[in-house]
C-alpha cells in the first residue's frame, strides 16, 4: 500500500535517517552534557562526540576536521562566510560577485552588504542554468574580494563549474565561497583539490536533523573571517553559542552514511529519476528546466506548459512537491531561478520540482507518473489556451485585448 502523500521534495528537507535518529537519542537522554563544560565527565563525553562528528563531516568533503565550524544551518553558514569574509577583507576592496540563481541566503546576505557600502555583481546564467566562465571573468574587478557560487542549485539541481571558478579566484586572490547545502551526499566533493576557501553545509538536506550546519574554513592558505556571533568564544571564536550535541552527532552520522553509501544510492536514485523523466516526457509540451547532464541525479524540474501552476499543485496534492524553493514558496511570485533561465512567468508558474531521495520507491515514481498524466490532461482539457494550441494557433502571434 502506498502511503500518501508521496514525498518527492527531498531538496526542501529530508527525513532523518533512522540510523541517525538512533545515534542522536543517547545525547538527548543520558549523555546530555554541555560540550563546553571542562570540569566533569558529562562535558568531556559531549565534547568527544562533537569532535567525532566533526571528523565525519570533514571526511565526506576531504577536509581537515579543524576546518569545520558548526553553525545552526546552511543559512547561517552562508551569512557567516560572506559577511565574515567581506568584513575581514574590506580593506582590500569592496566588490562581491555572485549569481542570480543563488539561494536567498546568499542573495539577501549580499544585498545587506550592498546596503553597508559594498558593491555587488549578480551574474546571469546561461539558458541551461550554468554560469558562463567567460562572463565570470569579465565580471572580475581589481577590488573584487569575495565570490560566491553554489555547487548545486536547489531548484533545478544543476552543478556549477566551481572547480574552474576556484582556479580563477585563487589566482586573483579572491575569497571563494561555495554553498554546498544541496550537494553533500549527491556528488563527490574533494576540498583537497577544489580551490574553494569557504563551503556551507546543511545536515537536514542529507538525512540529518534540522538546526545544524557547518562552514568549511580553509586553513592552507588560511582564510580569515570576522565572526558574526559573539560570546563564549566557541568554535575557535568564529561562532559563539552552546553546541547542540545531539544535532551535531546527527549531522556527523548523516555525513558518515552519505560517504559510505552515496555511490550506490545515487545510482538507484538516478534510475528512479530517469524513469520519472521518461514517464513524464510522454506528456505533450513539457520541458526540463536546467541542464540535464550537469545535474545531480535527484532533481527533475519540469514545466507543464498551458497548465496553471497553482491548479496543478492542487490537483496533484497526493505528491508532496515544490513549485519554487521552499523558502520562498509562500509567495506566489514565479521562481526567480526559472526566470533567470529565460522562462516566461507563465512557464515558471507551471513548473514543478520533483526531488527524489533515499526512501523513494519505484512504486511511488510509477504512481506519480500516472497521476501527472491524468491531471495534466484534465487541466488542459479545461484550458482555452491549450485548445488554441491544438488548433494550430501560434500563441505568440495572438494580440490579447486588455479589458
Amino acid at each position: 500500500m502506498l502511503k500518501l502523500p508521496i514525498y518527492l521534495d527531498y531538496s526542501a528537507t529530508t527525513p532523518v535517517d533512522p540510523r541517525v535518529a538512533e545515534k542522536m537519542v543517547p545525547y538527548l537522554t543520558e549523555k546530555f552534557g554541555n560540550p563546553a563544560s571542562r570540569s566533569h565527565a558529562f562535558g568531556w563525553e559531549a565534547e568527544k562526540a562533537v569532535e567525532g562528528a566533526r571528523e565525519h563531516v570533514a571526511a565526506l568533503v576531504n577536509a581537515d576536521p579543524r576546518e569545520i565550524i558548526w553553525t545552526s544551518g546552511a543559512t547561517e553558514s552562508n551569512n557567516l562566510a560572506i559577511k565574515g569574509a567581506a568584513h575581514f577583507y574590506q580593506s582590500k576592496g569592496k566588490h562581491i560577485i555572485t549569481v542570480k540563481t543563488e539561494h536567498k541566503a546568499v542573495l539577501d546576505t549580499v544585498r545587506e552588504l550592498e546596503r553597508q557600502g559594498f558593491e555587488a555583481s549578480y551574474l546571469d546564467v546561461q539558458e541551461n542554468g550554468l554560469v558562463d566562465i567567460d562572463r565570470f571573468k569579465q565580471a572580475l574587478r581589481k577590488d573584487t574580494i569575495v565570490a560566491s557560487v553554489m555547487l548545486v542549485n536547489n531548484e533545478i539541481g544543476v552543478i556549477q563549474p566551481v572547480a574552474e571558478i576556484g582556479e580563477i579566484c585563487r589566482e586573483k586572490g579572491i575569497i571563494f565561497h561555495v554553498d554546498a547545502a544541496q550537494a553533500t551526499g549527491k556528488m563527490a566533493i574533494d576540498l583537497a583539490r577544489l580551490k574553494v576557501d569557504l563551503m556551507s553545509f546543511s545536515a537536514h538536506k542529507t538525512y540529518g536533523p534540522k538546526g545544524i550546519g557547518a562552514l568549511y574554513v580553509r586553513r592552507k592558505p588560511r582564510v580569515r573571517l570576522e565572526p558574526q556571533m559573539h560570546g563564549g568564544g566557541h568554535e575557535r571564536g568564529l561562532r559563539s553559542g552552546t553546541l547542540p550535541t545531539h544535532q551535531i552527532v546527527g549531522m556527523g552520522e548523516a555525513f558518515r552514511i552519505a560517504k559510505a553509501e552515496m555511490a550506490s544510492e545515487n545510482e538507484r536514485i538516478r534510475c528512479l529519476r530517469d524513469k520519472l523523466f521518461k514517464g513524464l516526457s510522454d506528456i505533450e509540451a513539457v520541458e526540463v528546466n536546467g541542464d540535464i547532464e550537469h545535474r545531480v541525479p535527484h532533481n527533475l524540474n519540469i514545466s507543464f506548459a498551458y497548465v496553471e501552476g497553482e491548479s496543478l499543485i492542487m490537483a496533484i496534492k497526493d505528491v508532496a512537491v515544490s513549485s519554487g524553493s521552499a523558502c520562498t514558496s509562500a509567495s506566489l511570485e514565479p521562481s526567480y531561478v526559472l526566470r533567470a533561465l529565460g522562462r516566461s512567468d507563465e512557464l515558471a508558474h507551471s513548473s514543478i520540482r520533483f526531488t527524489i531521495g533515499r526512501f523513494t520507491t519505484e512504486e511511488e515514481v510509477d504512481y506519480t507518473i500516472d497521476l501527472l498524466h491524468r491531471k495534466v490532461t484534465k487541466l488542459r482539457e479545461l484550458s482555452p489556451l491549450w485548445e488554441m494550441v491544438k488548433d494550430g494557433v501560434d500563441l505568440s502571434s495572438v494580440q490579447w485585448a486588455a479589458h
Partner: protein, 383 residues
C-alpha cells in the same frame, strides 16, 4: 562507568525532560517536513512551530508574535544588541558588569560601530549599583542590558524596578532571562522590558533552541538573512524538533515551577548550611537568589583542583560558567563584586535541578569534606 555520577551543574545545561523528548521524537521521525513547504508535510511542521510559539509566549506572559526563535540564547542576545543597535544611531549602551560573555562580547562589537559602552558596577552581593545605573541613564543610554539572574551566583536583579527607573528615559531595556526561567516567575509584561532572552536547554529542553521575546516597537535588523523566516528577523529552516521541545519544556517549567522551586530551595539550603559549617564562603547570600544555585569558595583551596577531585569522586560541578571554564581565569562576576582574585579563582558552583535529591546533597557534603581534608594534607606535605 561503575556508578552514575551526580550531576550538579544544571546552570551549564540540564538533562532533557523525558516528556519533552516524547514531544520531540515524532519530529525527528515521520514529521520531518520543512515548515516553509506548502504541502502536508510542511503544514504539519508549521503548525507544530505555531503551537510551540504559543507555549513559549504563554510561559512568560508575552504574545506569540513577540517570540522570535533562534538557535540558542547566545544568538538571541547577539540579535538584540546588534539587531537593535544596528537600527539606531550609535550612542551609549549600558550593561551590567556581570553579564554573560554573549552579552558582553556583542556589546563590545558595537563599540567598533561607534557605541560607547558603560559597564554598570555591582555591589559586594552582586546587585546592580543604583547610582551607577542612574548615571548611565543620565548619560543618555539608548540600550540597557541587565541579566535577570546571574549564572554563577544566582543573584537576582530587580529588573522591574530598574525598568521603572528607566521609564522617563528613552531606552530599550533588555534582560537575559536564560538562568531565571523555570527557577523563578518570569513575566515579560510585569518586568516591563522591551526584550528578553530565553534558552531551552537550561529548563529541561533541548540544546539548539532559544528565543528573543521582543516588543514590536523595537526595530531589529536580522543577524542572519535569507529566506525570511521568523518574520524576516531570523532566516534559516526552522529547527522544528528543538522548537517543539522548547515549547513543551516551557509549559512544564511554568506548571511545575512552584513545587520544583520549593524542592530545590530546601536542598540548596541544606547544602549551603553544610558548606558554611565547613568554613566555606558562600557568595550573594544577602540578596534574592535562584533557588538552585550555590557559589562558594574555601580558603586555601584552588577551585580547579577541587572540581577535578570532585569529578573523580562522582560529582559534576563547575568552577565558573561552562563557556568560560576553558580558561582558568578568576570568575568575572566575583571580581566585579570586589572579591579578591585568589578567592575568585577558587570558587565552585553547584547548581541543582530536577534529578537532584537530598541524598545526593548529603553525599556531596561528605565527599567535599573528605576531598578538602585530603587536599589540605597534600598541601601540608608539599610545604
Amino acid at each position: 562507568m561503575v556508578f552514575a555520577p551526580a550531576y550538579l551543574d544544571y546552570n551549564a545545561t540540564t538533562p532533557l525532560d523525558p516528556r519533552v523528548l516524547e514531544a520531540m521524537l515524532p519530529h525527528l521521525r515521520e514529521r520531518f517536513g520543512n515548515a516553509s513547504s506548502r504541502h502536508e508535510y510542511g503544514r504539519h511542521a508549521r503548525r507544530a512551530i505555531d503551537e510551540a510559539r504559543q507555549q513559549v509566549a504563554a510561559a512568560v506572559g508575552a504574545h506569540p508574535t513577540e517570540v522570535v526563535f533562534t538557535s540558542c540564547g547566545s544568538e538571541a542576545n547577539n540579535l538584540f544588541l546588534k539587531g537593535a543597535g544596528g537600527c539606531m544611531r550609535a550612542g551609549v549602551l549600558a550593561i551590567s558588569a556581570i553579564e554573560h560573555p554573549c552579552v558582553r562580547e556583542p556589546a563590545r562589537q558595537l563599540v567598533r560601530g561607534g557605541w560607547q559602552l558603560r559597564e554598570i558596577t555591582v555591589d559586594a552581593q552582586g546587585r546592580l549599583d543604583g547610582e551607577d545605573f542612574a548615571a548611565a541613564l543620565v548619560a543618555g543610554a539608548k540600550m540597557v542590558s541587565v541579566m535577570l539572574a546571574n549564572n554563577e551566583t544566582g543573584a537576582i536583579q530587580d529588573v522591574a524596578a530598574l525598568v521603572m527607573r528607566a521609564k522617563p528615559f528613552r531606552v530599550w531595556f533588555h534582560t537575559d532571562a536564560v538562568q531565571a526561567l523555570g527557577k523563578i516567575p518570569v513575566n515579560f509584561r510585569s518586568l516591563g522590558v522591551s526584550a528578553m532572552t530565553l534558552s531551552a536547554h537550561k529548563i529541561g529542553g533541548p540544546l539548539g533552541a532559544g528565543a528573543l521575546v521582543i516588543d514590536k516597537r523595537v526595530e531589529l535588523a536580522p543577524l542572519i538573512a535569507g529566506g525570511g523566516q521568523e518574520r524576516g528577523v531570523r532566516s534559516g529552516t526552522e529547527n522544528v524538533a528543538a522548537i517543539v521541545g522548547f515549547g513543551r519544556a516551557c509549559e512544564l517549567a511554568v506548571s511545575e515551577l512552584r513545587e520544583s522551586a520549593r524542592r530545590m530551595r530546601r536542598m540548596r539550603d541544606r547544602l549551603e548550611a553544610g558548606l558554611i559549617a565547613s568554613g566555606a564562603r558562600v557568595f550573594s547570600t544577602g540578596v534574592e537568589r535562584l533557588p538552585n544555585t550555590v557559589f562558594f569558595a574555601l580558603a586555601g583551596i584552588d577551585g580547579e583542583t577541587l572540581v577535578a577531585h570532585l569529578d573523580r569522586a562522582g560529582f559534576a560541578v563547575a568552577s565558573g560558567s561552562a563557556c568560560s571554564s576553558a580558561s582558568p581565569e578568576p570568575s568575572r562576576t566575583l571580581l566585579a563584586m570586589g572579591v579578591d582574585p585568589v578567592t575568585a579563582k577558587g570558587a565552585v558552583r553547584v547548581s541543582l535541578g530536577r534529578s537532584s535529591s537530598d541524598e545526593e546533597v548529603e553525599r556531596f557534603l561528605d565527599a567535599l569534606a573528605e576531598t578538602v581534608t585530603r587536599l589540605k594534607q597534600m598541601a601540608a606535605i608539599a610545604v
